[in-house]
């Protein structure tokens, strides 16, 4: 299946290669570079590139291309999903996944990759199992540089009925925290009406519990959840019949569930943007003014508001004054970014000023789209509420915590 893997940084250097079958010369990447050149932008590089003898499947994350070389038919998503899993694993191991970190830990990376695939077919991809096979680097081990970071026993998870959980977990403080995070994806049109809006949510968990706890999590209003996908630990049938999440959790951080809120529910849009962006044909100055305000926030404050907008090429510079926060404009990428912070409903933040346009150029066809980021703590915008969290199978009493948060996902305002 997966023949080789090349890691390529944004400047086109292959800084790591790993082969699971016979060695494929790195010159195969030339085809990739060609495609990269053609695509101009990194995200436009086609994920699948056919070459005369191989196929190159790549993902782009953290400014690194992970290019897998395959030779025969294989479901492309299989490879892509695996590459993403590799990135996730690196992130899990090293905290961040970046070129310097991978280079610093090249031996661990190599060992991990060796365990993840055998002859190109995934062998162990569960982070809990991997961490038992190859221990993540710790400061102590880096300093001593002597003790081994390889386990010598087959991780019990590999054979157990719950391969995602290692056995013999012990904590003095037993805690289980769940974050319900919802993202609003929306497209708002010029006049402020919603073209499309939907809520996507995830429940991320951080479970540090001793032994083999068996948890159940129930919702007050499970019917809100229209479409769900589970971590493999969730017992599907129990969900089908009772709408209860019943699971033996992996140890540590994991994504328990991601869901989509049914489309019938109208989505409350918590913010509005008033905008007045105008270019005039003759003048070399354009007017720019935006105001952000709260709409349906259920009494919560909107924080972490960031407004970004890709300005048309004709815009040379912008001179703007924000009523709060800071703003930047990059004349090269034409990216305007305004870090607003909190929205105070009494005094709405606004950004006003002028744009200087290229002299003589005609006015752009389209006004820039405004992208919005924000956060609302303590609120799940869909109204989803966790009812109970119960633990069975262990005697102690765990600390339990549930946090709600709403964020903007792909939130766009067309102007």
């Amino acid at each position: 299946m997966i023949h080789s893997l090349f890691l390529i940084n944004s400047s086109g250097d292959i800084f790591l290669e790993k082969h699971w079958k016979s060695v494929v010369s790195r010159s195969v990447c030339d085809y990739f570079f060609e495609a990269q050149e053609r695509a101009t932008e990194a995200e436009n590089v086609p994920p699948v590139i056919p070459t005369p003898h191989h196929y190159l499947l790549s993902v782009y994350r953290h400014k690194i291309f992970f290019v897998a070389v395959i030779q025969t038919e294989v479901p492309p998503l299989f490879v892509i999903e695996f590459l993403h899993r590799v990135v996730d694993t690196f992130q899990d191991y090293f905290g961040v996944c970046s070129e310097p970190v991978i280079k610093d830990n090249v031996v661990v990376v190599y060992e991990v990759l060796e365990e993840m695939l055998d002859n190109g077919f995934p062998l162990a991809t569960e982070s809990n199992i991997l961490k038992e096979l190859i221990k993540p680097p710790t400061i102590l081990r880096t300093v001593v540089n002597r003790s081994t970071n390889v386990g010598d026993q087959l991780p019990t998870g590999q054979l157990s009925v719950v391969p995602w959980r290692r056995t013999g977990v012990k904590y003095t403080n037993n805690e289980a925290y769940f974050d319900v995070i919802e993202e609003i994806d929306a497209i708002i049109d010029k006049s402020g009406s919603t073209i499309t809006a939907e809520i996507q949510g995830v429940i991320d968990a951080c479970v540090k519990l001793t032994g083999m706890p068996d948890l159940t999590l129930s919702f007050m209003n499970p019917r809100l959840l229209d479409d769900v996908s589970f971590h493999p630990c969730v017992r599907f049938k129990r969900w089908e019949s009772e709408r209860i999440l019943s699971f033996i959790p992996p140890d540590g951080n994991f994504r328990l569930l991601s869901y989509h809120v049914s489309a019938q529910n109208l989505v409350a849009i918590p913010v509005y943007v008033k905008h007045n962006i105008s270019f005039r044909d003759s003048s070399s100055l354009g007017r720019f003014e935006i105001t952000v305000g709260p709409k349906q926030t259920m009494g919560k404050t909107i924080e972490g508001v960031i407004v970004t907008s890709q300005m048309p090429k004709g815009v040379l510079n912008m001179s703007l004054t924000p009523s709060q926060g800071t703003h930047t404009f990059d004349p090269v990428t034409k990216m305007l970014s305004w870090d607003v912070g909190k929205i105070n409903p009494q005094k709405l933040p606004s950004l006003k000023g002028t744009m200087s346009l290229q002299a003589g150029a005609s006015k752009p066809d389209e006004n820039p789209t405004i992208n919005l980021h924000f956060k609302i703590q303590q609120l799940a915008i869909s109204g989803l509420k966790v009812n109970r969290l119960d633990m069975y199978g262990e005697k102690y009493k765990p600390f339990k915590g549930i946090k709600y948060m709403t964020k903007a996902g792909k939130f766009q305002v067309r102007t």
Binding site: D13, I14, F15, E17, S22, R26, P47, V48, P50, T72, E73, P75, L77, F78, I80, E81, L83, H84, K103, D104, V106, E114, D118, N119, F121, P122, L123, T125, T148, V150, D152, L154, L159, I195, T196, Q200, T216, S218, M220, D227, V228, S229, F230, P232, F236, K237, R238, S241, E242, S246, F247, I248, H260, P312, D365, N371, N387, G393, Q412, R414
Partner: protein, 1102 residues
């Protein structure tokens, strides 16, 4: 590992063997001055005895490999360390070996013996990794060794090693394809493996080595379907795509019937196939009065596949979701394909690479099944932040989804896209509009007008694209659009994009009759600028000139001549050729006027309008989700998706002898069954939840919560009613009665034991009367149902007495005793007397399960005559010998399973032991001596029998907790003088106790116990087994199960719980009047299920 900056120097450097490595190594720190010296150093480090130095060296070497540097000259030094004790050094050496063994084959052989030793290591991880490395060393000379190792590992105890063996198969195959036959044997063996760990890997090996050997799958098909949910994600993908292919060869198309029905409803006659239509639906086939053609009946195995893959749509892995989606697309009946849309739309939230692949597939699907994605139209709306390739794919989907009703919204959306800054995207949008216009006639004019407006766009690209699209649209109805053509003609002054200019010229030429005045003028202008035009434009100028010459030669003759002369001396030979050709054709020469007479027909023939269609059309002949589909070209190793067969191959090839499943390793969890939670916690939890949630459910959850709790009261009443208790109809809530009843029950059951010598028949009759009376009085559904049930049960016991009474002892145990012992999670409704309190109160203590509401439902919903009898006819297996008279020196001991709850412990099976003394002397002090029991099994001894006089016999009751297994309970039977070793092995049917259940509840429970927990067996019922009571009697003889009411007459259902763990055992016998009957057992305890199936089948087919 701290010298990260050192990396910076060699970015992208190629790995020449002689290239100095100086400064490249993270740990070298630039100390070493030359390549040789540094490698010497590494060699030295590898040669030391210190593991830490070795490790350091190996780490540096691996870092070199990672960067693609050549480290092959260190091979001898490294390979020596293959037997190093330090596990990390060893691992790194393995990494090195696998990388370079191919290049240094002779030296690599030195390491082989180490691996061979490793293969015998007691540690499974070491065995596995030895096999991994051994099979990864691509040295042809060791092929026989590898073969041997694989064969051995394939029967290793550890499933992990077996998995590794499966992985090694394709490795060996790629090294030496001559081994195929032997490898197939190994694959066949591993395919039969029942662990989820192995399943995915072996199917992968199968796909790589012998995908054509579909026959290997037959026997494993059902197992793979059932294991699927528990296999790890990667394996799931491989298995699903293999099963898709398999299903295409083995089953009939689920859609064929629809088309057949429409076409020739009468003709198709498949009489010969009649008997193949087994399973659900075949009934109709046989009973249909018409000389019917065979209606399409989905093979149950086909259904099994669809049913077992569906939950995987909820997987977190995009690859799995896609695999299931393509399976449904290719295999499911039309009506069911829709379920995949939601899951696929969900994937659009994922990484852009995933989106890219998913959208490609959605694009293909949306052409065939537009309706499926229509509700999700808005999910395909484009955001300005999407990468261009995603935008274009979304556009494709939107265009495919556009129809009469949603076209206004789609077009409005397109309008905003046209203003985008991303010009490639704008061009694609214009083409999309063009396609919408051709597909949907209603909006053609709107689109055309919109496109014409775009002609005044400032961006040339937009204009050019519009022109091209307009050209295509105009071809469809040119007559009405003279104005647009004129407008286009004006544009020739401004537009510079060659393709657009060429399009305009072609249009004017083609429709020059509609614009007779303008056309010559355009030609004049073009003639002027001819030399400066692009080739493509020049060709069209010649074209235009020729056409004008033919239609309007008066005005354009000279111009045409001029253009042709210019073209004659063009640099491009195409243009020169064309000019020469055109001149000969249109200008009549002296000799041959033949051609020029037809020139008009040649040039101005009516041309068919171009069809604007999706590039994704017909891509679905590739299996969706495959690489080939994505590239729209056959990739190496692509397995063609076969067409459905005309006639289904024999489905019986998939039948498997059910072996003892005790070896199956069960994986629980994984989206699958839920078994870990002890039953009682679940129940109490549920009750707690009910109480807690009531307020919240009240508004949003309209149905489930309140109804359930509301129903529980009348339920408990009715339940007790059915047992003819006059007292307990007090309406106490079921949860309350739980605790009290458990205790009372114990007393009750012992009470009933005492009365068991009396015939139960009389009482039954009494009860029947009472119940009937109640039923009539209350006229409630429950009442009448229960009355019929009891009367029915009586009938069964009657007939039984008449017909089969093999053993006298059977009669002794009254029906009341057959009810189950108390299990912890079960609330027992205690029953007092019958209405006439004078009658001795013997009532069957019946188990009532907790979710009573559903019971009630079941009772009220079934309207066909019910044949429910909870009470099993007397007892199963007859008296069995424990100790023979001769061996026992006069003491003969028999035992029977009385099927009464054992009074001491509800988990115990009560065994009646009959002693008889045929010796001359009394036997004294009979008791059980130190039992030697397998773990888990316990014995409650019977009280010592002090003395047994000669010729006398005695009976004692002992309890054995078999722990839900058929393990033998060995114990000693002691007399004062002797000890006898005896053993009791229970038939599996005795390890359970009947439970009361409604049809609905039964179905619900059965639904939870599918997959691995379901065991099905086909059997042919002999004619003697055709009547109801015989079947019921036979089943209940074998197993201590309770009859569950059933709506259809040919189905029998029985339910029970195992004694120790209280797991449900559900038995369904589907006895069709013709053809094979089907026996299904659902139980978490698969071993019990399998054995039960065997026993019941045996009993029924005797």
């Amino acid at each position: 590992m701290s010298a990260a900056p050192a990396y910076g120097e060699d970015k992208g450097g190629s790995a020449g063997p002689g290239e100095p490595e100086y400064g490249h190594d993270p740990a070298s720190g630039g100390i070493f001055s030359s390549d040789y010296k540094r490698h010497d150093d590494l060699k030295e480090m590898l040669d030391t005895n210190k593991d830490s130095l070795k490790l350091e060296a190996m780490k540096r070497i691996v870092a070199m490999i990672a960067r693609g540097k050549n480290a092959s000259d260190l091979f001898p030094a490294v390979v020596k360390n293959v037997a190093c004790k330090n596990i990390e050094v060893k691992k790194l050496v393995y990494v090195y070996l696998v990388r370079y063994a191919e290049e240094q084959q002779d030296l690599a052989l030195l390491s082989i013996s180490t691996f061979q030793r490793g293969l015998k290591d007691p540690n499974q991880l070491i065995r596995a990794s030895a096999l991994r490395v051994l099979s990864s060393i691509r040295v042809p000379i060791i092929v026989p060794i590898m073969m041997l190792a694989i064969k051995e590992a394939a029967s290793d105890m550890s499933p992990y090693v077996r998995k590794t063996a499966a992985h090694a198969i394709p490795k060996l195959y790629s090294l030496d394809s001559d081994q195929k036959d032997q490898l197939i044997e190994v694959i066949e063996k591993l395919l039969a493996d029942k662990t989820t760990l192995v399943a995915g890997s072996v199917v992968m090996a199968f796909e790589e080595v012998c995908p054509e050997r579909i026959d290997l799958i037959h026997k494993n098909y059902r197992k793979l379907c059932n294991l699927l949910i528990d296999v790890e994600e990667w394996g799931q993908v491989v298995i699903i795509s293999m099963l898709t292919r398999y299903a295409r060869t083995q089953f009939l198309s689920p859609t064929q019937n629809e088309s057949l029905l429409e076409e020739n409803p009468e003709k198709a006659f498949y009489g010969s196939e009649e008997d193949e239509a087994k399973g659900p639906g075949s009934e109709e086939a046989t009973t249909a009065a018409l000389p019917a053609r065979k209606p399409y009946v989905m093979d149950p195995d086909h259904r099994l596949l669809l049913r077992n893959t569906k939950p995987l749509l909820q997987s977190r892995s995009a690859a799995v979701v896609m695999a299931v989606a393509q399976l449904y697309f290719h295999l499911a009946p039309k009506a069911e394909v829709g379920v995949i849309a939601k899951a696929l739309v969900r994937l659009l939230r994922s990484h852009s690479e995933v989106q890219y692949v998913v959208l490609q597939n959605v694009a293909t699907m949306s052409i065939k099944r537009r309706g499926m994605f229509e509700p999700y139209l808005k999910s395909f709306y484009i955001r300005s932040t999407d990468p261009t390739q995603i935008k274009i794919l979304k556009l494709e989907v939107l265009t495919n989804l556009a129809n009469e009703t949603n076209i206004p919204t789609v077009l409005r959306e397109f309008q905003t896209y046209i203003r985008s800054m991303d010009k490639d995207f704008v061009a694609a949008t214009i083409q999309a509009i063009g396609r919408c216009a051709t597909n949907i006639g209603r909006v053609r004019d709107t689109c055309l007008n919109g496109l014409v407006q775009l002609l005044s766009n400032r961006d040339e690209l937009v204009v050019a694209e519009s022109v091209v699209v307009i050209k295509k649209l105009l071809q469809m109805q040119p007559a009405q659009h003279g104005e647009i053509i004129k407008h286009l003609a004006k544009l020739t002054d401004n537009i510079q994009v060659p393709m657009a200019r060429a399009s305009i010229l072609w249009l004017i030429g083609e429709y020059c009759e509609h614009v007779p005045k303008i056309a010559p003028d355009v030609l004049r202008k073009m003639a002027k600028s001819f030399t400066a035009e692009e080739d493509i434009v020049k060709l069209q100028v010649i074209n235009l000139a020729a056409k004008l010459y033919l239609t309007n030669s008066k005005q354009t003759k000279l111009l045409t001549q001029y253009v042709l002369s210019l073209a004659k001396y063009d640099q491009n030979y195409d243009i020169r050729d064309r000019a020469r050709f055109t001149r000969q054709l249109i200008v009549p020469s002296e000799q041959g006027g033949a051609l020029s007479r037809h020139a008009k027909k040649l040039f101005l023939a009516p041309k068919p309008a171009p069809v604007l269609e999706s590039s994704f059309k017909d891509r679905d002949h590739f299996q969706l989700g495959s690489l080939s589909h994505l590239l729209n070209a056959k990739a190496t190793g692509y397995q063609e998706l076969p067409d459905w067969p005309e006639e289904a191959p024999d489905p019986s090839v998939r039948n498997v002898e059910e072996e003892d499943l005790s070896l199956i390793e069960t994986h629980v969890g994984l989206l699958g069954e839920y078994t870990e939670v002890p039953e009682w916690t679940k129940c109490s939890n549920r009750e707690k939840r009910k109480e807690k949630e009531k307020p919240f459910y009240s508004d949003s959850e309209g149905e489930s919560g309140p109804t359930e709790s509301a129903d529980s009261d009348p339920e408990s009443e009715s339940a007790s009613d059915s047992k003819s208790s006059s007292e307990s109809g007090s309406g106490e809530s079921s949860s309350e009665s739980d605790s009290e009843d458990q205790e009372e029950e114990k007393g009750k059951s012992s009470e009933s034991e005492q009365s068991e010598e009396e015939s139960g028949k009389r009482k039954m009759k009494k009860r029947k009367k009472v119940a009937e009376g109640q039923g009539e009085g209350s006229s409630s559904d429950e009442g009448s149902d229960s009355s019929s049930s009891s009367s029915e049960s009586e009938r069964t016991s009657d007939t039984e007495e008449e017909q089969v009474e093999p053993d006298s002892w059977r009669k002794k145990t009254p029906p009341s005793s057959k009810s189950a012992p108390v299990a912890k999670e079960i609330s027992l409704l205690d029953l007092e007397d019958f209405t006439p309190p004078s009658v001795q109160p013997v009532s069957p203590p019946t188990i009532v399960s907790t979710s009573l509401a559903t019971d009630l439902e079941g009772l009220t919903l079934t309207d066909s005559p019910l044949v429910p009898s909870l009470l099993s006819p007397v007892s199963g297996v007859g008296r069995q010998e424990l100790l023979h008279r001769v061996a026992g020196e006069g003491l003969a001991v028999d035992y029977t399973f009385s099927r009464q709850p054992f009074s001491g412990d509800p988990h115990m099976v009560s065994v009646h032991i009959h002693f008889s003394n045929s010796s001359e002397t009394p036997i004294k002090g009979l008791h059980v001596g130190t039992p030697k029991l397998p773990p888990g099994i316990s014995i409650q001894e019977f009280p010592e029998i002090e003395s047994l006089a000669p010729g006398e016999s005695a009976t004692a009751v002992m309890g054995i907790n078999f722990c839900d297994s058929t393990q033998v309970a060995n114990f000693q039977l002691c007399t004062q003088t002797r000890q006898f070793y005896v053993s009791i092995q229970p038939p599996v049917g005795e390890l359970m106790a009947p439970v009361f259940m409604s049809e609905n509840e039964f179905k619900k429970e059965q639904g939870k116990l599918t997959g691995m927990s379901e065991i099905t067996e086909k059997l042919t019922l002999p004619d003697t087994c055709r009547s109801d009571h015989i079947v019921v009697q036979k089943v209940t003889t074998v197993a201590n199960l309770g009859r569950v009411p059933c709506g259809t007459s040919d189905e029998y259902r029985f339910a029970g719980r195992t004694l120790t763990s209280g797991s449900l055992v559900l038995l369904t016998l589907d006895a069709r009047p013709t053809g094979a009957a089907q026996l299904t057992v659902n139980s978490e305890k698969m071993v019990i299920g399998t054995m039960l199936v065997k026993d019941v089948v045996q009993a029924l087919t005797q």
